[in-house]
């Protein structure tokens, strides 16, 4: 991580704390924070960013549109690619 660049951003105003991202993530990137925010929600946070393969499943599976993953531009538009092309390549 350089400066304030973040791979995964969680919107605190939209998240309702269902913790489905913890269940859906294949690589267990997320963890639950012990503190409660002003809405009474225990927000998930990114604990193991180096495990992330940018598959983008959490972004689609988040019911509240709160998760943003820094994916390459429009990878899902390709006809023959069903998954993120970076998913198979082992990153960094």
């Amino acid at each position: 991580m350089i400066g304030d660049f973040k791979l995964i951003i969680i919107d605190e105003n939209l998240c309702k704390g269902c913790h489905l991202c913890l269940f859906m993530c294949y690589k267990n990137v997320y963890a639950i924070s012990p503190e409660v925010n002003k809405k009474g929600v225990q927000l998930p946070f990114v604990k193991f960013e180096e495990r992330c393969t940018k598959c983008g499943t959490c972004e689609v599976a988040c019911p509240d549109q709160a998760i943003t993953v820094d994916l390459p531009e429009n990878w899902w538009m390709n006809e023959d690619v069903n998954f993120n092309p970076l998913f198979t390549r082992h990153g960094k």
């Binding site: 489905l20 899902w76 069903n82």
Partner: protein, 286 residues
């Protein structure tokens, strides 16, 4: 992406967010899956008209920035049929729940499937009437508890995807919200298919179904759903006893058939020539 914004937010009415659905409800994930499938199928978002009935799932078109029609209970498919017949260039998508499609609108569903009219129906099956307080729905599994079934449900549930495939739809599939990649590809196939496309999505309802059935958290419901999922190719080799309480996922119909609006157009040209039913009034303007 440099500005770092969720890729589904441009399609949503952001002033209405966060939406009304309970924490962990699958409806929000299905909005994402539909939008991803729509982008994958190269569809024009301005050409889509959404129709919905009454229910939790039928609130979805209210959060999307496209033309939508919120209709009476169970009659979403009738309104959609009229809309599609009047203007066959529109891409009509119907969001409906299990109470909407299977109980009060059951006949509309099977007759729309029989006619094979070019609609995409996404049926969000949460196994219970969530909006009115947790009553038993026609798709509640046998033995599940609800407000109106304190000793467990005694009836056998509807198998909607098989029902619609038997009624004559050209595309019918069932997936759950834990199989996101398959769901996106299935909705894409349904949008591209010419004919009646029915996609049943089994979702979690932690607030009513989960609370009555000892699965209070969304994660518990999703884990149980994932454990109970059987693919169709594996289910063909299993006995009826082994399949008890399982969710069979896969494609149940994928065929090509005559389509309703094309038949109507053909007969209209055949019988009245240029003076067709729809365009004769506007022929000077066009």
């Amino acid at each position: 992406m440099s500005e770092n914004k969720n890729r589904f937010l441009p399609y949503l009415r952001e002033d209405r967010l966060p939406h009304i659905f309970c924490p962990g409800c699958g409806n929000g994930a299905i909005i994402n899956a539909f939008l991803a499938a729509m982008e994958k199928a190269d569809m024009d978002f301005d050409n889509i008209a959404m129709v919905s009935g009454i229910g939790c799932s039928s609130r979805i078109p209210g959060y999307l920035k496209c033309d939508s029609l919120h209709t009476t209970h169970g009659r979403a498919l009738s309104f959609a049929t009229g809309l599609k017949t009047a203007n066959k260039d529109l891409d009509v998508v119907v969001f409906t729940g299990d109470g909407d499609a299977a109980s009060i609108g059951g006949n509309h569903l099977i007759h729309a499937a029989r006619r094979n009219i070019n609609l995409t129906v996404i049926c969000i099956n949460n196994n219970i009437y969530g909006m009115t307080g947790g009553q038993i729905s026609p798709t509640s599994p046998k033995g599940s508890f609800a407000t109106t079934a304190p000793y467990g449900n005694l009836d056998t549930p509807f198998k909607l995807a098989e029902l619609v495939a038997a009624a004559g739809a050209s595309y019918s599939a069932r997936w759950t919200t834990v199989q996101m990649e398959n769901l996106v590809l299935s909705i894409k196939a349904g949008l591209k298919n010419k004919g009646f496309s029915f996609i049943e999505v089994a979702t979690q309802c932690p607030t009513y179904f989960g609370r009555k059935n000892k699965l209070k958290t969304p994660t518990a419901m999703a884990a149980v759903m994932k454990a109970n999922t059987v693919f169709k190719s594996a289910a063909d080799r299993m006995s009826a006893r082994e399949l008890e309480g399982k969710i069979v996922v896969g494609e149940f119909a994928n065929t090509q058939k005559d389509e309703f609006t094309e038949n109507l157009e053909r007969i209209s040209v055949e019988k009245s020539g240029k003076k067709t039913l729809i365009n004769s009034a506007y022929s000077t303007e066009l």
